[in-house]
């Protein structure tokens, strides 16, 4: 929204600089996005009289014009009559006109502030000197006007500054609308001025007409009637019929310049009245051609405010034909729709130059319905922007009263009868009891009751003080956003300046807050992964259905967005791995040959169902991918090495893959993957290399593998594993290596398990690890394990050690048909 400073000044006295004003508005009312000084744009531009107009010899459209500038410009050549010569190409120039002259060295306002500002000069045109130019409304950056130069009415002294005459020595404040969503009153200059007055600590005098809720509309009734079919859709609908005037009349030029500077195109006096009052009071109005309405529904004009009907169509003023929905509010003449309420009029009742009689509508509509209509049809007019802020029903009458006055004044039209008025949504004026203590308590201030009361009474609230402690606050009719005590407290705080409130800290006892165990765990997990040389990534929660498919998952198991930005972001991911798979190849391409990427985040898998709160279950996951561009060897072990590093002491069992419907498993190749089982018997996740199809789909290097786990399950497991510290033994430890030759189908886990059966039965502390796997012949392999033994009671002698080792050997040999070598 654009606010003109000069317009504001018509309603409130502003005696501070524009910068100070902007700062004050910023901190106490609304954010100003920018302040634009337009006086520069109209610098040196003069209003002049065209004294003599002759056509230029040899040209079919140019005229040589002699203008009188009252001697105001000191830099141009003049003729003996003190007139200045300008060549003009407009067809509508005639002598005697009052026009606008852009002298040499001035810039065409239309080009002001653009990349290529056009500066005028004295030029020789076909052998004739031309000083500057005579301007059209478009060149003056006011509005599009194609008929030619701007011709001004009235008696204006030649040489008068154009900016001064039309108050264009102005500043425009660009207001960020969003924080006024709840303030319909601030969408009009009067309401905005009232607020500016209040934050400057001054009383505001509202124009009489806006305070007059029952203006006199004349006598008689009967030419139209109004029916609001559903009381929920309109609190009030008023209409006035006026006739016998000049509908071709233009509104006063100064008014046109005010409309133009805030972005509204002047059209005709009647339309300008509706727009002017909308800009002034925030109440949109609409004018229908009465005769067109009559031709639709006959002489008995019955206006209906109703919902749209199935299959009903309406051509709007902008020429667009829309399909009405049964949720749209429609204005109808008899059975025929003539306007989309609050949003735009219909083409079938548009006023034009032949209009003789008009209906002016002043109404309020259900803002929620209008908002839906606005979204449905994509209409963002000035009117609907205001209607969707919820302007009060009381406002329709004063504004209609003023509209009737202005239409009469500017076009000569007269009311035919009195107003037609249907008012089902009449509400009682609200009074709110506000104890001063509440103001102090909520804001954390110690305010005097007079300061509190004055601040809001400046903004038009009625305040009666009771027992010097309580304010009885009467809410003015235009503040439809004020309902409860807190709303009034906000106004007091805001108008006095929130920044004047002293900041303090809440009191609290010394009880320590214990950070959440799971959070601490995740942070530790992250740090350990980083220590392993991996890089943490964050990737989008939404992915393309194709990525899901490429990873071997089913998109139907994902929650799907109905309004995604692109197909790339349409589905919630079920697991993290597909995201990691899709960023691996791009990194290889960027020249990273060997790396591990990991993510800790939440995933959503539709078959998991809903929580007790009836929202989808969220699963915390952690996934890692290892990739080596030219890697040889089995990638599985590279990933496993990282997993061992982060979970080494958790005694994870690597179990052969069996059928599972866990979506984590989908991308993994079962023959080269393992299910990770915790000591508590629960599945934590999966580790492995990827299916051939997955490698192909994501263009992965052959040497890639990864793992994905359920972080919460992992946390639960970690909680059960106590960090049992055993004191160091005072006696030395002994190590022995044993090499077993076994059939190649025997796996390392079996050897360790058989050995542990013996080791765990001894009273010694022992550890065992595979240190070498060697395979030469096709049927067997040699697995070397290192066993470490230590006693807490004495130094082990050779015989004791040999006995334990022999037992281990016997066990492994017997169980696995191994040979010791």
């Amino acid at each position: 929204m654009i606010i003109s400073l000069n317009w504001l000044k018509k309603f409130t006295n502003i005696d501070i600089s524009v910068d100070e004003l902007a700062e004050l508005i910023n901190t106490r009312l609304v954010e100003i996005e920018s302040v634009v000084n337009i006086s520069e744009k109209y610098k040196n531009i003069l209003i002049v009289k065209a004294v003599e107009v002759k056509s230029l010899e040899g040209s079919d459209h140019l005229s040589v014009v002699k203008i009188n500038d009252g001697g105001a410009n000191h830099y141009v050549e003049r003729d003996e009559n003190n007139l200045i010569q300008v060549v003009c190409g407009a067809p509508n120039i005639t002598s005697g006109q009052t026009v606008v002259w852009l002298p040499p060295k001035s810039v065409v306002p239309q080009t002001f502030g653009t990349a290529q500002p056009f500066m005028l000069d004295t030029r020789n045109l076909r052998g004739v000197i031309s000083n500057g130019m005579i301007a059209s409304a478009k060149e003056l950056d006011l509005f599009d006007e194609h008929t030619g130069i701007l011709v001004l009415d009235g008696d204006i002294e030649p040489g008068t500054s154009f900016a001064k005459e039309y108050e264009l020595d102005d500043y425009l404040l660009n207001i960020e609308n969003k924080s006024l969503t709840h303030r319909p009153d601030c969408f009009g200059i009067i309401g905005f001025a009232r607020e500016v007055s209040a934050i400057m600590g001054k009383d505001f005098v509202s124009p009489d007409w806006i305070m007059n809720l029952n203006p006199y509309f004349g006598e008689g009734s009967g030419n139209i009637s109004i029916v609001i079919d559903d009381a929920d859709i309109s609190d009030r609908y008023q209409a006035m019929v006026m006739t016998d005037g000049d509908s071709k009349k233009q509104s006063p030029m100064i008014l046109q310049t005010y409309l133009a500077r805030v972005g509204v195109r002047p059209i005709s006096a009647i339309v300008d009245v509706t727009n002017y009052l909308m800009m002034l009071a925030g109440q949109p109005l609409h004018a229908f051609d009465f005769d067109k309405v009559r031709s639709i529904c006959g002489d008995n004009v019955e206006i209906h405010v109703r919902f749209g009907r199935e299959g009903e169509k309406l051509e709007l003023l902008d020429g667009k034909v829309i399909d009405l929905s049964s949720d749209d509010i429609v204005i109808a003449a008899g059975e025929t729709a003539i306007a989309l309420a609050g949003a735009m009029g219909g083409a079938n009742t548009e006023i034009d130059e032949s209009t003789k009689t008009i209906i002016i509508e002043s109404a309020s509509f259900n803002l929620y319905k209008l908002r839906a209509t606005q979204m449905r049809h994509g209409i963002f007019s000035e009117a609907v922007t205001r209607f969707t802020k919820g302007q009060p029903a009381e406002l329709t009458a004063p504004v209609l009263g003023e509209a009737v006055r202005l239409v009469r004044e500017w076009t000569g039209m007269q009311p035919v009868t009195s107003v037609a008025d249907t008012y089902p949504g009449k509400r009682e004026r609200q009074t709110i009891k506000v104890p001063l203590q509440k103001v102090d308590d909520i804001l954390g201030v110690d305010m005097s009751i007079l300061d509190a009361a004055n601040s809001i009474s400046h903004a038009g609230f009625g305040v009666k003080i009771e027992d010097s402690l309580i304010m009885n606050v009467e809410v003015p009719y235009w503040r439809s956003d004020i309902h409860i005590l807190e709303d009034v407290v906000e106004e007091i705080g805001r108008i006095n300046g929130f920044d004047n409130i002293k900041s303090t800290l809440p009191m609290r006892d010394f009880t320590a807050v214990m950070p959440d165990g799971f959070d601490i765990f995740r942070n530790n997990l992250r740090r350990t992964l980083v220590k392993s040389g991996a890089n943490e990534v964050l990737t989008y929660s939404f992915i393309h259905g194709d990525i899901i498919k490429k990873a071997g998952q089913n998109p139907e198991d994902s929650y799907r967005l109905i309004n995604s930005i692109s197909p790339d972001l349409q589905y919630y991911r079920q697991t993290l791995m597909p995201s990691l798979l899709s960023i691996t190849q791009p990194n290889i391409k960027q020249g990273y040959d060997e790396f591990a990427l990991f993510e800790i985040n939440k995933c959503h898998y539709k078959p998991d169902g809903l929580t007790d709160e009836e929202v989808p279950l969220e699963i915390d996951r952690m996934a890692l991918i290892f990739a080596a561009k030219a890697g040889s060897g089995t990638a599985y072990y590279r990933a496993r090495r990282i997993l061992e590093f982060i979970m080494g002491d958790l005694n994870i069992t690597y179990k052969k893959i069996t059928e599972s419907n866990n979506p984590i498993l989908s991308p993994f190749e079962p023959k080269r993957s393992a299910e990770l089982i915790g000591a508590n018997g629960k599945t934590i996740g999966f580790i492995g290399e990827y299916k051939k199809s997955v490698i192909k789909n994501f263009k992965l290097p052959v040497c890639s593998a990864g793992f994905e786990v359920n972080t919460l399950e992992l946390f639960n497991l970690v909680k059960t594993v106590g960090k049992d510290y055993k004191p160091l033994s005072r006696y030395p430890s002994t190590e022995r290596d044993i090499c077993f030759r076994v059939n190649q189908v025997i796996n390392c886990g079996q050897i360790i398990d058989s050995a542990n059966e013996i080791l765990l039965k001894t009273d010694l502390e022992s550890s065992i690890e595979v240190i070498d796997i060697y395979k030469k012949e096709s049927e067997t392999k040699n697995v070397t394990v290192r066993i470490k033994l230590v006693s807490y009671s004495h130094t082990l002698n050779g015989d004791e050690v040999t006995e334990v080792i022999n037992n281990v050997v016997n066990s492994v040999v017997a169980k696995l048909d191994a040979i010791v070598i």
Binding site: P506, S541, G749
Partner: protein, 335 residues
């Protein structure tokens, strides 16, 4: 036409039995079907052509499945219990020098850490939620124009990827109600990922991180809110800071404000330069009420701000899109 069905069944069973399924796509039976098009009456060609194309799609997918199966069959089993490869020897880790955590998670941890020390519990925000938590319990009636500002996504089922971490506010209030009524305070922050249907550019993302705070007690004031926020930012930036506010409208607070700090020296700030940090305000009585808390007895304040911006300012990151790009070139700047 019935011919097509026969050919389909025949070829599908051939594919199932073949070691070289792709060869079957070149079968003469298929070629004959194609050949027949030209001898058809023009008006039938369209339908016929479409059924042949459909057939081709079915066959190709069958070939692909068969090929994948064959490939999968050729995969060698490995010893998943072994620590390394046969003849491989012990494996080292990647160089720890290259490891990095994501700047957003690092910063989030830092922010939460400060709030925890100030006495706030931390709760991670949900990434999918319902209308009631996202809007309803926060005093946004259906179709309220203030909903427009949030540009929410929706799933088929009507769930919402939350557009603010305030989606946790009702849960925090409900969970803290007993404690509030016993000893007088709720103090919590919720943090996490939020989503908005926004076109992305260097400063806008559809996915970003927020941290939200909630404090309720029998005597909370707006002055306390300003003090709490100032205190957080002074600890975060390690210097005294000036603060400034601006009236703002959020249906879940009353009064509602935008909160700005004077740009800290660490960020190259000069006096008079301000940084808008977050939105805040006194919790609206309806919001307390919807969690069963009596607004006559208790008051609270709440705030919420973005984490991405803090990180961008701290490191001078030029493009918000780097965060979720997964590019090592970016990630390894934070080793």
């Amino acid at each position: 036409m019935q011919n097509i069905e026969d050919v389909k069944n025949n070829l599908l069973s051939q594919i199932a039995a073949s070691d070289f399924p792709r060869e079957i796509l070149k079968s003469s039976e298929l070629k004959k079907l194609y050949g027949a098009i030209s001898s058809m009456p023009v008006e039938q060609r369209g339908i016929y052509g479409k059924s042949i194309n459909d057939l081709k799609i079915v066959l190709e997918s069958a070939v692909l499945t068969k090929e994948t199966e064959a490939e999968d069959l050729s995969v060698e089993q490995i010893d998943i219990t072994a620590p390394f490869d046969v003849n491989g020897g012990k494996i080292g880790l990647l160089s720890a020098e290259n490891g990095s955590s994501h700047p957003l998670t690092t910063e989030l941890e830092n922010v939460i850490n400060i709030f925890t020390r100030m006495g706030f519990e931390a709760i991670e925000s949900r990434q999918i939620d319902d209308d009631n938590h996202m809007f309803g319990t926060l005093n946004f009636p259906d179709n309220h124009p203030a909903r427009d500002g949030y540009d929410t996504f929706r799933t088929e089922e009507g769930f919402i990827p939350p557009a603010h971490t305030s989606t946790m506010q009702n849960r925090i209030l409900k969970a803290g109600k007993a404690k509030l009524e016993a000893d007088g305070q709720i103090a919590a922050v919720s943090y996490g990922r939020v989503f908005r249907n926004e076109d992305i550019d260097a400063t806008h993302e559809h996915t970003f991180y927020q941290c939200e705070g909630v404090f309720v007690s029998s005597d909370a004031t707006l002055g306390q809110m300003l003090g709490t926020l100032r205190s957080f930012f002074e600890v975060y930036y390690g210097q005294k800071l000036k603060i400034k506010t601006q009236p703002a409208y959020f249906p879940f607070v009353e009064p509602g404000l935008e909160f700005a700090i004077e740009k800290p020296v660490a960020l190259g700030g000069k006096p008079g330069e301000w940084l808008e940090m977050l939105g805040c305000g006194m919790i609206h009585p309806n919001v307390l009420r919807s969690a069963g808390i009596d607004p006559e007895k208790y008051r609270g304040f709440a705030w919420g701000g973005g984490i991405d911006r803090l990180v961008m300012l701290k490191y001078g990151i030029e493009d918000i899109r780097h965060f979720e790009s997964g590019k090592l070139a970016f990630l390894r700047k934070f080793v």
